[in-house]
């Protein structure tokens, strides 16, 4: 038995998303650096403002999750932020978020890092904490303000955004966990060394041996362990570094385009790294109906995948409208040019 499922049934009590309002069009990046003749991986990506970072974005997503959950923040016993863009090298983002939302005090808080799957790694831990009855509620956040080196392929897609989830007992859940499955190997497809500003990646090596191998094994592993086939799911969300990768993975697994379309946001907000699969799932929860089964499968370079199966409950009806919907954040947009993008992302040398 490789399926992970706590003895106590747990689920998602509340969820919340956040995307900054600025967008840069991929064609604008291509205007500066060239490369449009080879095709562009997405339409546009989200860019954080000068006063935004992983902490501020996590705070807003966390407040949205609390609004939907309807719990007192002092009932949380853990708050974990998964990101590869924590503002401090040493000092937790999670303590700032916990204090800002009123959860500080009797609570675990810490930061997680696993390239793009740090958020779902935190979610697995939250499931374990609540499932073991060590805690009644725990919050897991996946959030990033990803950086791409100018003129690198990643510059087109490295976006900003993410989501927060509150895990709690199944009887209070808007979506109940059926089980999760994780698959991890040492695969150096993407990394950033200490003190380096931008990551390195293995170009095509990031595809077959990294993204596809782990995503397919993660998702298929969950399907096999639960005895489900793709048609048993109303929706599926995969990590989305671009548009093509999740579409290809879904097709190989046997999912239809309409099952993945509502949770595939990369074309409009870019790759939100630790937040990517998690925010895709919030867009799905916003439109899901009771009884819908949802598969969420992350991927993080280095490398690994976490796959989850949730079944939506009647409680979704009363909770969706208690906070801003994900597509509202996606549609809230102000397009900026490369000059403002360079300023907002700290790419101008000032001294």
């Amino acid at each position: 038995m490789k399926l992970m499922k706590p003895k106590r049934d747990v689920g998602i009590i509340g969820y919340g998303a956040y995307v900054p309002r600025f967008r840069i069009r991929a064609e604008e990046i291509a205007r500066v650096w060239g490369g449009a003749e080879d095709g562009l991986p997405i339409e546009e990506k989200a860019v954080p403002g000068l006063d935004e970072d992983t902490v501020t974005m996590s705070i807003e997503a966390a407040r949205n999750a609390l609004a939907r959950a309807g719990i007192d923040p002092q009932q949380l016993r853990a708050l974990w932020v998964g990101s590869e863009s924590h503002p401090y090298a040493v000092k937790p983002s999670s303590t700032i978020v916990a204090d800002a939302i009123g959860a500080a005090g009797s609570i675990l808080a810490g930061d997680w890092e696993f390239a793009c799957k740090a958020g779902t790694e935190a979610l697995q831990a939250a499931i374990g904490l609540v499932g073991s009855e060590m805690a009644e509620y725990a919050m897991a956040i996946g959030m990033d303000t990803a950086q791409g080196r100018p003129h690198d392929a990643l510059e087109y897609t490295a976006g900003a955004g993410g989501a927060a989830y509150i895990v709690g007992p199944a009887e209070n859940a808007l979506a109940i966990l059926e089980g999760s499955y994780s698959y991890v190997t040492d695969t150096p497809d993407f990394f950033r060394r200490e003190h380096q500003h931008y990551p390195q990646h293995g170009n095509r090596f990031t595809g077959e041996p990294a993204y596809f191998d782990h995503t397919l094994r993660g998702a298929q592993g969950l399907l096999d362990e639960l005895g489900y086939k793709p048609s048993d799911f109303a929706y599926a969300i995969f990590h989305q570094p671009n548009v093509k990768f999740p579409q290809t993975a879904a097709k190989k697994l046997g999912f239809k385009p309409e099952q993945i379309a509502p949770g595939l946001l990369t074309n409009k907000i870019g790759n939100t790294y630790s937040g990517a699969a998690m925010i895709g799932a919030t867009a799905v929860l916003d439109i899901a109906k009771p009884g819908d089964r949802i598969l969420m499968c992350s991927f993080g370079s280095g490398a690994g995948s976490d796959a989850f199966s949730f079944v939506v409950t009647e409680k979704i009806r009363e909770r969706v409208a208690k906070a801003a919907k994900t597509m509202w954040y996606v549609s809230r947009r102000e397009v900026i040019d490369y000059a403002l993008y360079a300023r907002y992302r700290g790419k101008l040398v000032m001294n």
């Binding site: 403002g49 006063d51 501020t56 705070i59 807003e60 204090d99 409208a321 919907k325 509202w328 954040y329």
Partner: protein, 133 residues
């Protein structure tokens, strides 16, 4: 870096924590220890819900030290629904689109950073009300 001073203000900055008079119900932000209405010293913490309307605003093109990176930015006076007027930056908005009386809500943003190796200070700003629910 004023670590202690910034730390002491975090409840105000993170959650708009002021005080309420237990005798007459008057609410204060920033927190006061003596009620200006009834002179009572029986005040308890009160978390404002962060909603209000824009009372006045201006665009800064010359900033105090530590805030230059954000220029130009808008500073406004926000009349909270619960009474007090708060001075704060207005974010997520183009100054030309702002109107006095506009509904605004509190968000937590980066206020400033003490250089590249210093502490980052987070706190309240206000933005036009988001109605995305």
């Amino acid at each position: 870096m004023d670590l202690a001073r910034n730390w002491r203000l975090k409840d105000q900055r993170f959650r708009l924590e002021g005080t309420v008079c237990a005798e007459c119900g008057a609410k204060f932000f920033p927190p006061r220890q003596v009620c200006t209405e009834c002179k009572s010293t029986n005040l308890t913490p009160h978390e404002f819900d962060g909603h209000g309307e824009l009372y006045s605003f201006t665009t800064l093109r010359s900033a105090p030290m530590g805030y230059e990176d954000q220029l130009p930015y808008v500073v406004g006076m926000v009349k909270l629904d619960e009474g007090p007027i708060v001075e704060a930056q207005i974010t997520d908005v183009n100054p030309d689109a702002l109107k006095i009386g506009q509904r605004v809500e509190m968000v937590t943003r980066k206020l400033r950073a003490y250089g590249d190796d210093g502490v980052i200070v987070y706190g309240y700003k206000f933005r036009p009300v988001a109605n995305g629910a």
